[in-house]
Symmetry: C2
């Protein structure tokens, strides 16, 4: 496979057809955007923005699912409160609930370890490796053979890259497998909690305000990166020292105003702007509505099973928050989708693409087969997903752990690490261990059993042809069981397993396959019983993946070529790699009730207006007192007559961008992105510049809260404020 | 009394202290405002605006409680739908409900007579008559003698003025009796309904949207003024001809945009911006809350008593609309008041005024006594109002009619018309007759009895000292009566009276006092029995009025002198006379939830969004079809992508301004004022330029509805459109 064609397109200078505000650009695309960036107001050299080792990208870090940025030369990182929620929860107890109280470390010695597995990733290099991942030989393969060849090449690249200790490397697909890039990141393993505001600030508005405007959430928290005395990443140790980043962001406490240029650098997770019509239809008319039903049920079961048990409720707080967040997102997406003609446009796009392909014999030869194939493979995958929809939620959490452990034991039997399945190589072992260690923190047997019992009931009610006999046999389930019978069967399974005890669970990491086969632990036995079927299903998935990669990559090549023929440039869908989006601070009229607009900024006044003193709207007394006394420090915006709290901008972000620094025209920090507005969430699939807005917490609010309310003088000094 | 001092102040050129947007200026004040008007964008000579016989004031008419304007040379008048509501209702029946259907007269012959008593008043002159109303002799009087002397002078002035037949004259007090002006108006008595949109347009949003933004109400209706063939006002006759006004407004179908200069000319009824602290406190802490309770009860009683009786419900539709409107206004005022420090500011103002007066011996001699007196008299009046609060709603409507009739018979005994009490002179007789004629249209015995019964129950429960023995005796009521006893007593009263029959009621207009004394009609007997007490209470009120006029006028003189000493000019509170206010088209941020703004315009999109198909949000099918088809004619605003429906401006209006023309910088019609926003209604007492907004229907919406939806071509041609 040769990706030069696509790359040539990506690097062509962009003409006038660049859509304002839309675009999650890879750093390498930025020099092409020099003109539009300058017109939009950027006061830096666009080429500087493309360099991972230059300001400001060098200060931007991934938290694995969130983004943060260095704001001092001593490894201080600012990100969202909701990104650090698990770490705040991890350090909380019923006696000392840091979620409610907030947390401030008076000195380095007081900083608390983040939740196990917390990482900071500093991207140090990104390399195009398409020709090595899909080499000439692989390009001729299909099905499972293709999948395994790609996996092999990726493993080789990663292994080579990770010889540089302290680094984590990944091969990431762009444009559905049309391109592959090797991303090399410094992996900082000792992360500590420095400062978090009380939930009444950091999560003010809770689920009610989530995805909403007007917004008044102080969604910020500070971490610190630590490394060994040698400056290299190290596991947590009291001997470790603060990391000295290559650079840190300059702060702009003077703030921004409506219409100002802003940009966000961060790690957006996934967008689907180039998906086919059949994927759009399946997602919005089947998968998302099914998720809504599933999550609603899960929340109800968790709520019932934690009633009156504060410790259990605390363990599930993070899961509940995440479910609620995704639920609101999916509901918003479905509602927005129903108001658009997205499906019809996608169908028309595919017809137009096919017509363009068929209008030329060479194009027909190159693309027609794979365009037909991509639709067939997608249909097969959707049929499988439909039939296995309930399997996941029906699976007890400890059975999942047992399967992971048994798979690991099997993979370890292979003498060469390079022969092991991705995810089970030596490089993955610490993360597997951490996952098993941390399980307890968000696990309660009673809740887990209630969830499994509920969904197994649903699963057993499916037509026989849609059930997996191996799953039923391994768990001792059968059609027609009453809820009571399911309950007693599950009770026996949970009682017969010691995997709920962390030491017992972790002990299995070092046992061999025979030990598993001899065990009478109920969940270990079930994992052994399921193993053959699990492998068959994996092989089946690998077969489909191989077919899909080949067809999808060529479909994307056709799409890019066709759009290129019309003068339209294409940026890759988000895939967890570093991107930059730029736009401006702007309120909104479109999408609102006729006659109502959103202003670009909210202020402290709105906190007082929303404050009820309980639940989700419970601002701290000292904050309210400062607002009422009009103590604004240097952070008031004269036009607003108050301190700006949150602001709207036209930036193009998605999940993964949470905590991303919002930068002004000079690349200085002015806020942190933390959310989008509900009727704009469809932007992951279909970007609407009139309605899509990013919600950010204004840096002036962060500094005001630190200085006036929390008296966090040392933190301000470290960031060079005052 | 000499008013030159005050006049000098009013005519002094205004310096920089003119507040933007605030001010209901008398036409005579406009030349002083030439500078600010020019700065604001006026494209006419300010002196032209002060002339009643020049464009545009010559085209503006009073409807008595509303405002209208001539829009053709054949007497066509445009005003609000809610101002013509009574006339539309008057021409409706259960079979042919014009409120629901709307109305369009195909030709002159099809135009319908407006409700009896409907008038159009064209102001032809306004003359300062202070020196005649309060001459040297009167200035030395106090109490009832002063009241009667002022009444006498007013009657003389009116009688002289009304020798010019076809004119209605009134002496109007300004600044609480500090000045008096004689207003001379041509009184057009033949008014006809030309065109009204269906309620689904003209009252779209109903009580739910009343006082609200965003708004989408097509609050417009067309009347036509008719006169006799001699061109003079005449009673309704098929021989009458359309009135030829001195001038009519030019239309500006191109419309206005945000930020544009606009002005309103109209007849605002009453504001209270110069009231004393004690009046403010009494109003907001006692009178308005009492009204809210009273009106809420009245609405509930009317609702219960009309349930299932469509004809009765139709008769009370106008009363219910009016009660709801005032109720929402008062509730809004109370809520807004509680968020201000108005009372404290008023108290401070009075302290400051007193300090300024006391700082100078001459000022002390001139004002100190009356400032003390005004507070004492106000306290006496408030005590009386409190004690008699329930008397009004406890009085059967027919008893009110009987009292009017008997009073008239007594006044008629006086040989000279000039000796009769104002309101009962020959000039008032036709209006008294019309009031008695029209009573049936908004009267249902069952409803009236239910209302009287309810409030008499409350009245009888008051402490004995707070009840009027004459009232109880005249109606045969006594403390301790059960609801059933009250009911049967009232039933006997209603059954014993023939006043419910229009001819019988009107026959009493020509009977003498003896005939009343001999009658055994229950309500006539009650009126006769109450007469002596009614006169005693009137004398008591006259005594207080005389004291108050003297003290209040001098208090206002002191206030104006004090403000003048600080360089502040004072415009008189609204009093039903012609005023001009100017400002600009503007949305709003202040007063809204933090982060939410109101845009200046709404559009047709909002109609579709609000439409439910029933009740208050029931847009006509043909209108919805035109919107959905995007048939905008020439009336779309490109930036809005639709036809503007309603718009906000900073104009300073109040009740009485309804239907007022909104004019652009060249004095051309761009819309009709019809409402203010709820949290700005306190502006009648305390003008807040940040939150006070006038809501107007955009002329483009009116023309679009006429042209595209209602196909009212002849009306458009008459107005010179296209």
């Amino acid at each position: 496979m040769n990706s030069r064609f696509a790359l040539a397109l990506l690097l062509a200078p962009l003409c006038g057809s660049v859509l304002a505000d839309e675009g999650m650009w890879t750093p390498s695309q930025l020099p092409q955007l020099a003109g539009p960036l300058r017109s939009a107001g950027l006061d830096l050299d666009a080429a500087q923005l493309s360099r991972l080792d230059a300001y400001p990208l060098g200060a931007v870090v991934s938290l694995g699912g969130c983004t943060g940025s260095f704001v001092s030369d001593a490894g201080l990182v600012v990100t969202n409160h909701h990104c650090a929620y698990g770490s705040i929860q991890y350090n909380s107890s019923a006696d000392r609930n840091l979620l409610t109280l907030g947390f401030h470390a008076a000195g380095l010695a007081d900083e608390l370890p983040a939740a196990p597995g917390s990482r900071l990733f500093v991207t140090v290099a990104t390399t195009d490796v398409t020709d090595r991942v899909v080499d000439r030989r692989t390009a001729r393969l299909t099905g499972r053979a293709r999948t395994l060849a790609i996996e092999d090449h990726e493993k080789q690249l990663v292994a080579e890259c990770e010889r540089d200790t302290g680094h984590r490397c990944n091969v990431v697909a762009f444009h559905g497998g049309l391109e592959y890039r090797l991303v090399k990141q410094l992996e900082i393993r000792d992360v500590r909690l420095v400062h978090a505001p009380p939930e009444g600030v950091g999560k003010f508005g809770g689920d009610t305000d989530n995805w909403m405007w007007p917004r008044h959430t102080g969604d910020f928290t500070f971490y610190r990166a630590y490394v060994g005395k040698d400056g290299k990443p190290a596991d947590f140790s009291r001997d470790n020292v603060p990391y000295r980043p290559r650079m840190h962001l300059r702060l702009a406490p003077a703030g921004i105003k409506e219409g100002d240029f802003v940009m966000v650098a961060g790690y957006p997770g996934r967008t689907n702007r180039h998906r086919l019509a059949s994927e759009v239809g399946y997602t919005f008319e089947r998968a998302y509505p099914e998720f809504v039903g599933l999550a609603t049920t899960q929340l109800a079961v968790i709520d019932a099973a934690t009633k009156g048990r504060e410790a259990a409720a605390l363990k599930y707080a993070s899961t509940v928050a995440s479910l609620n967040n995704t639920l609101k997102n999916r509901e918003g997406m479905i509602a927005s989708y129903r108001q658009t003609d997205l499906l019809a446009r996608k169908q028309q796009e595919l017809r137009d693409l096919k017509a363009w392909v068929e209008a030329d014999a060479e194009r027909t030869r190159l693309y027609a087969g794979d365009i037909a194939a991509v639709e067939a493979v997608i249909a097969d995958r959707q049929a499988l997903a439909r039939s296995e929809f309930l399997l996941g939620p029906s699976t007890p959490r400890l059975l999942g752990a047992a399967r992971t452990l048994y798979r690991l034991a099997n993979e370890k039997q292979k003498p060469a690490d390079s022969a092991r399945k991705p995810g089970f190589q030596a490089r993955n072992w610490p993360r597997i261990r951490q996952g098993l260690e941390v399980l307890d923190r968000r696990y309660d047997e009673q809740v887990d059993q209630a969830l499994a019992s509920h969904f197994i009931g649903d699963y057993l009610a499916l037509p026989a042809g849609q059930q997996n006999p191996a799953f039923l046999a391994a768990l001792g389930l059968r059609r027609g069981m009453s809820p009571a019978e399911i309950g007693s069967r599950l009770a026996a399974l949970y009682q017969g397993s010691r995997l709920g005890v962390a030491e017992e669970r972790l002990a299995w990491l070092d046992r061999d396959v025979d030990a598993f086969k001899r065990s009478n632990d109920t969940f270990i036995r079930a994992a052994v019983a399921l193993y053959a079927d699990d492998r068959l299903r994996e092989d089946r998935d690998d077969e489909l993946d191989g077919k899909l990669q080949r067809a999808y990559a060529n479909y994307m090549r056709a799409l890019i070529a066709w759009k290129g023929s019309k003068g339209e440039a294409v940026y890759p869908d988000a895939n967890g790699t570093l991107r930059i989006t730029y736009g401006k601070v702007a309120g909104r009229t479109a999408g609102n009730p006729d006659g109502v607009a959103w202003t670009a900024f909210t202020s402290l006044r709105g906190i007082v207006a929303k404050h009820t003193g309980t639940g989700e709207f419970d601002a701290p007394d000292n904050q309210l007192a400062a607002i009422k006394a009009g103590v604004f420090g240097p952070y008031a915006e004269p036009q607003l007559g108050s301190v700006p709290v949150n602001f709207l901008s036209t930036l193009d972000i998605t999940g993964g961008n949470s905590g991303s620094p919002v930068l002004n025209a000079r690349g200085e920090l002015v806020g942190l992105a933390f959310d989008g507005t509900l009727d704009a969430v469809l932007s992951d699939w279909d970007f609407n510049p009139a309605t899509t807005r990013t919600i950010a917490v204004d840096l002036r609010y962060v500094l005001w809260q630190l200085q006036v309310v929390d008296k966090a003088e040392t933190l301000l000094q470290e960031m060079g404020v005052r």
